[in-house]
């Protein structure tokens, strides 16, 4: 740490000479996606490429992050660099918010607009009358042709809000609290509190993912509810699925932060990685609240 200059001296701003990992990341990502595309096209090589791509990406992340951690520990980053990292994270999270907005948008659009239209409500009587006689505007639905579901009727059971989802809400909310508590520990130079808080958060995170996996299992095996169950199944699984993915990423991120905390990497004024993970975690939390209200409850 070079201290907090009020007038930033440009030469104090750390500039790496070279970046070896981005190109690795590009190769990894491309390999992964080309593999996935081949997989989707039914070519046998797909899964191999996907594995290779994932391995390269993991290697890239490990390498890139250790390089940054090394530089951070070496004290190369001044306050201004720290702010750059923070801003970077904030705007990254903002972009994630908009990614979820696309899927929430799809949910609102179909519920408020497309499904009533199909059912011939309001200004669009003739769609129901001419194309989909007898289709009712109800939610949840798998559409006038009852796509997916079980049996000729395409029957399925919607996911209730007050079982696992409610428990998961509690879990995520408490994990938001524990991570904040850990943060306080960090500020107070209380290592024990920091570490216990982080352990609790990570554990709650993985518990959440585990419960969600159970919920999916039940949906697929007992409720006739799958990704292919019409628009309800589509929006339900895409929204909760991408959220679950983000919980997993966030939990891994927190796990790394936990490991670093165990090694004593963070000081009360020098813990960007911790804060980034915590912000990410809160973002995942807020998205869940939206999901709980709009996907499960209403």
């Amino acid at each position: 740490m070079k201290g907090h200059n009020t007038i930033p001296m440009n030469e104090d701003y750390y500039l790496p000479h070279k970046a070896t990992y981005p190109i690795v990341g590009s190769i990894g990502l491309t390999t992964l996606l080309v593999g996935f595309a081949n997989q989707l096209n039914g070519h046998a090589i797909g899964s191999t490429l996907m594995l290779a791509g994932t391995a390269i990406l993991v290697f890239m992340m490990a390498g890139w992050f250790s390089e940054v951690i090394r530089e951070s520990l070496a004290g190369n980053y001044n306050h201004q660099v720290d702010i750059s990292f923070r801003m970077g994270m904030i705007w990254f999270i903002t972009s994630e918010v908009f990614f979820f907005a696309a899927f929430f948008g799809a949910l609102y659009y179909t519920r408020i607009y497309a499904v009533p239209w199909l059912a011939g409500e309001g200004a669009f009587e003739s769609t129901g009358e001419l194309l989909w006689k007898g289709f009712q505007n109800v939610w949840p639905t798998n559409g006038p042709d009852s796509i997916g579901g079980v049996g000729p009727e395409g029957h399925f059971e919607p996911m209730g809000a007050w079982g696992i989802p409610a428990i998961n809400t509690l879990i995520l909310l408490s994990s938001g609290a524990t991570v904040t508590w850990a943060h306080w520990g960090l500020y107070a130079n209380n290592r024990r509190q920091l570490i216990i808080g982080l352990i609790a958060t990570v554990a709650l995170g993985f518990l959440f993912v585990f419960l969600q996996a159970m919920e999916y299992h039940e949906a697929y095996t007992e409720m006739g509810l799958t990704l292919g169950t019409g628009i309800y199944g589509s929006t339900f699984f895409m929204l909760t699925g991408f959220h679950g993915l983000h919980v997993t990423i966030g939990a891994i991120f927190l796990l790394v932060v936990l490991l670093r905390s165990l090694r004593g990497h963070f000081g009360h004024d020098n813990h960007f990685a911790f804060e980034a993970a915590a912000w990410y975690w809160h973002f995942v939390d807020v998205v869940w609240l939206g999901l709980f209200i709009f996907v499960y409850w209403l």
């Binding site: 907005a101 497309a114 200004a123």
Partner: protein, 533 residues
């Protein structure tokens, strides 16, 4: 705006690399230097412009006369689709990103971009994305052929290239988002002392707003194409009415991205023009703060007008009217910009070097495109204009003599700074006149074609459209080959010539920090932050 170098306290940290770039090819692969990355972006853009332009020439060749002469209709659609995707994502966006990389740190007195490693990755995703996109041409079923808008259900009929197309968009999206994050962070965090937000050069301001647009809309596009992917391969029903979805939902998602996207393609141009006109009018920019507010208003409005691309899908009338009114409103802040540019020229002491010529042509021809845009924003009239060559004329006027001219203007303006050598002014003027005349020959007749009833995205047409199509094709070829001159001029200036002064243009140092550094600037631009008064 002027700055004086801060007292340089002579200590250098060992982790600084002040000795200039490493040698060899790997320099470019590993570079974290904003100028290197800027150069990479711009070279990529030029290559993509050639490829996308070559595809446009295939289109224009087939459309030269009625009847099917050269290509299969399916291949024609692939050309239309790839032409647009490559021009938008490969030529224009990377060119602006390149200029942002080169100029923003210099213009705000920063040593480099805020997140140099990320910057490297933003660039180095692009070549992979474009190779992937180009490879679709050789796949079974050919390249995507559903138009750059990729509307379902048609796009779901794409062959093997379908997932590659989707993933290309994911890759390009990640790249754009990271570049945008970097730019915002750089501007907010790396300004030299005294460089307040309301002193930022307009090119920087317009880029900041563009970056916000990118962060907000690229993820939505990524989400939309992800839904396409799951609809095709995983049985979801987002865009399938039988399952309760709606093909038009895709259009809403696409245009929520797509409309701001067209402003992503024009706002940085506004910035470049706002740099150039004051320099050559030898006058300060008229209405600086209203320029900033106008740009911000255009950015904000661009989020709430998207469905003007969908007047014919049968939205409820309230929707039609709302989107009509909201879209029309954009003419007001855009008009403010046009009038400000005119007032900047007014009673100036103008000279007409090549950048200024392109800038003036930009103002005039962009305004043409804006007028047709305004006409199309009127929903009842658009029920006639929609999906005809009137639209094609509109958007090429705002994109070619709009965005592309601004890029050319910016290139001529800053080329002496980048290379240290003056470009050949005589050839530059020749390039300007060839380009300006041919661009009008190419796209002006398309207005008539559209009004007379020629739909877009067709490989063949009724004989009454023959004459204007022939003109348009001739213009396109002249335009295309004139660009070889542009490339020659650039290469010539890179290789040497008359040394450029630091200021390059008479009195330019009044107009920005970039003119206070040597031409070309040192490898690390502002080792010591300048103080801006």
């Amino acid at each position: 705006m002027s700055a004086s170098a801060a007292t340089h306290d002579d200590h250098h940290d060992d982790h600084h690399d002040d000795h200039g770039p490493a040698k060899g090819f790997m320099r470019w692969v590993y570079t974290t230097n904003h100028k290197d990355i800027g150069t990479l972006y711009m070279i990529t853009s030029l290559i993509m412009f050639m490829i996308g332009g070559a595809m446009a020439l295939v289109i224009r060749l087939e459309l030269f006369e009625p009847g099917m002469q050269y290509v299969d209709p399916g291949f024609f659609n692939q050309m239309t689709t790839l032409h647009a995707l490559i021009m938008v994502f490969g030529a224009v966006m990377p060119a602006f990103a390149g200029m942002a990389n080169w100029m923003i740190p210099i213009m705000i007195g920063a040593p480099d971009m805020a997140l140099p490693r990320l910057n490297n990755w933003s660039f180095w995703l692009l070549p992979f994305g474009f190779v992937m996109l180009a490879s679709t041409l050789f796949m079974e079923g050919g390249a995507p052929a559903a138009g750059w808008t990729l509307y379902p259900p048609l796009v779901l009929q794409t062959g093997d290239s379908f997932p590659f197309t989707i993933f290309t968009i994911h890759i390009l999206g990640i790249s754009s988002i990271m570049a945008a994050i970097n730019i915002i962070t750089t501007v907010l965090n790396m300004r030299a002392p005294g460089m307040t937000m309301m002193k930022l050069p307009l090119f920087v301001w317009t880029w900041v707003i563009t970056a916000f647009l990118l962060i907000a809309v690229m993820p939505v596009f990524a989400g939309a194409v992800t839904m396409l992917l799951t609809d095709k391969y995983f049985g979801t029903s987002f865009f399938n009415a039988a399952g309760g979805g709606d093909p038009v939902l895709y259009q809403h998602l696409f245009w929520f991205f797509g409309h701001p996207e067209v402003y992503i393609l024009i706002l940085p141009s506004f910035g470049i023009i706002s740099q150039i006109i004051p320099t050559f009018a030898r006058k300060p920019l008229f209405g600086y703060s209203s320029m900033v507010y106008a740009t911000a208003s255009i950015g904000l409005l661009s989020f709430v007008v998207w469905a003007h691309h969908q007047y014919t899908v049968g939205m409820p009338i309230a929707g039609e009217l709302y989107f009509t009114y909201a879209t029309m409103l954009i003419a007001v802040p855009t008009g403010v910009k046009v009038f400000n540019w005119i007032s900047t020229m007014w009673r100036g002491s103008m000279t007409f070097e090549t950048p200024m010529l392109f800038a003036i042509a930009f103002v005039m021809l962009f305004t043409m495109g804006g007028f047709t845009g305004l006409m199309m924003s009127i929903s009842p009239a658009d029920l006639q204009y929609h999906d005809t060559y009137f639209i094609v004329a509109h958007f090429h006027y705002v994109l070619v003599p709009g965005s592309v001219f601004a890029l050319m203007a910016g290139t001529y303006y800053w080329l002496p700074k980048w290379t240290g050598y003056m470009y050949d002014e005589r050839l530059g003027k020749l390039h300007f006149w060839l380009t300006t005349i041919s661009v009008n020959v190419t796209f002006f007749p398309q207005h008539f074609l559209g009004l007379a009833g020629m739909p877009r995205r067709i490989p063949d047409y009724a004989v009454q459209f023959a004459e204007f199509n022939a003109w348009s094709s001739v213009g396109a070829f002249v335009f295309g080959f004139s660009q070889l001159l542009f490339i020659y001029i650039i290469i010539k200036a890179v290789r040497g010539g008359q040394k450029a002064t630091d200021e390059v243009w008479e009195g330019a140092s009044e107009h920005g920090l970039e003119w206070q550094l040597p031409s070309p600037p040192p490898y690390h631009s502002w080792i010591t932050a300048p103080f801006v008064k």
